[in-house]
Symmetry: C2
Subunit: 356 residues, 2 copies
Amino acid sequence: MQKIKSPPKRLSELARRLDGEWSRLSLPRAGEVVIVAVSGGADSTALLLTLDELCRARRLDLNLLVAHLDHGLRKASKEDADWVTKLSHKLGLQAYVRRTDVGQKAKRKLENLEQAARSTRYEFFAELAASSGANLVLAAHTMDDQAETVLMRLLRGSGAEGLSGMEPIRPLTSDSEIRLVRPFLGWARRSDTDQYCRSRRIRSRVDEMNEDSRFLRVRVRKQLLPLMETFNNKAVETLCRTAALLRDDAAALSTYAGQLLQKASETEPISQNIALNTSILAHSHPAVRRRVLRQWIASRMGHLRRVEMVHLLAVEQLLEGNRGRAIELPNGVLVTRRRGRLYLSVKKVEKQSRNL
Amino acid sequence: MQKIKSPPKRLSELARRLDGEWSRLSLPRAGEVVIVAVSGGADSTALLLTLDELCRARRLDLNLLVAHLDHGLRKASKEDADWVTKLSHKLGLQAYVRRTDVGQKAKRKLENLEQAARSTRYEFFAELAASSGANLVLAAHTMDDQAETVLMRLLRGSGAEGLSGMEPIRPLTSDSEIRLVRPFLGWARRSDTDQYCRSRRIRSRVDEMNEDSRFLRVRVRKQLLPLMETFNNKAVETLCRTAALLRDDAAALSTYAGQLLQKASETEPISQNIALNTSILAHSHPAVRRRVLRQWIASRMGHLRRVEMVHLLAVEQLLEGNRGRAIELPNGVLVTRRRGRLYLSVKKVEKQSRNL
């Protein structure tokens, strides 16, 4: 590994902006163990080095741990892991590397590889956080990643929640107290991290999968976004602003739906399950009603896997009395309308067949 | 003009689906004067001919009037007007043609030409509706037009309202009782209208402006949508579904904002102007608060021209006390924070300078 140019005496532009975002996000400045997810690409390398700048300048006093998951998908992946380890040691930081075989784990079609890689990474981070006492995991996603995510969701079909893109701060997993933080997401461009790495004379690693046009994300990055930038050279910023607006919309609608869910909830005497009052639902806005139905199903099932808009629309038909008295949803869920109430039950057959 | 193939004895597929949509939209079936906007392109020609089918089959009993605005933008536009007139006469319908010079009217940059053309058309339709007693104006926009509109708004920067695209039914102008109806918008593709015209052996007119790549809409149609269809061959349908979901979201949020506006409104004793209670606003969801501010400004000014997200964010800063006590908005509007209230005033100077 080449010699890294030592940080400038004054903070770099990128480090100063990161410092500002740190305040805006009300993140802790001292006394914390913080995991930094570093793939070795320009974004995460720049994140690690700017955090190091802020620590050296005493703007932060954090115990940084570097985490690198070797997905085992490429020949060069071992070299990436070594590179990240060496970089960490040069900075006087500990690096934790885990090697897995994501391809084996996915063993399904290409698009699911991304999903499998993500869940494996998150498991690794969660375990590392638990053993090290970290409350924060930092990821280096930029505005460019956000714009790509928004476009992928748009292409696949999505409402406000999906088009909101990634959140700057969220729980690492749905019930986790560990927070996943993306301090570059709101303001940094990929060109900023590239330029930063060049200015520190560091050659970050290039992930060949980032060039593999079988991945939707790569085609969005290489084809769709560049075309959109010929229409509006601020396309990335514009998409990110739309995502932020829709995130606020989705949050407000979720609150209203939660209130309506409470109002419409009626507890069944024996099972203690929650039934919904149909006339309260029937008089509510479709946008809120569909979210009530989602929250209701999620609270009972623990998830919303495979539940799609078409299912919610079917339940709405049920509400209006246009479509019999029962609707079957995925995962063996049955929604029944009876005497002014909607009931949710889970078919036993399905449960058994899953155990086979 | 060539001979039109007479309608099939049984209703065409397109006419049958139009009939279904007519019911879904609860449109009147008899005793009404209805204006059909016909440019002479495949979409509006197909709309006129399928309406004619439904009238001949006694599914509808409406007095159809054909309206054609000759925008005076192209050499061939007079020929289009003649073509539409002849087609109408063949169907036994009256055609109303008006010639204007939209180019003269716009005399600004290219993009505004579309805007000028639209407002001129709407004025023409409104006058014709008033003189003929029509309550409905039908326009032939398809799902393809909707998808293009959504993408144009996305490229320019937009929230849920903009990304909702066009509405299937709306007032012709903001305070009009005449309804603009787009009965193709929810389900018909441009390929459907093309195919229909071919099946009736009618060569609809081609608008050269539809080929002029200086227009954003044309580039979206010719470049962006085809690329998106290589990612998802149902891209048009997917975009239309997203638009419909966001339209529901925007409608719900607008209702909540209206309720909050009422709750936060405090009438000033002398002027009878409405001030807003800042602590009620401060505790509301940003997504709803921004819509309250928009509704408040619109109710006072009669419009929201030039008011953008950046202005609403500035007023939010004012609410939080982070940015002095006054914010200047476009159109000479001043928002002031004073003793727990937001006041809106219109600068006299601006009014005078406008009169010069």
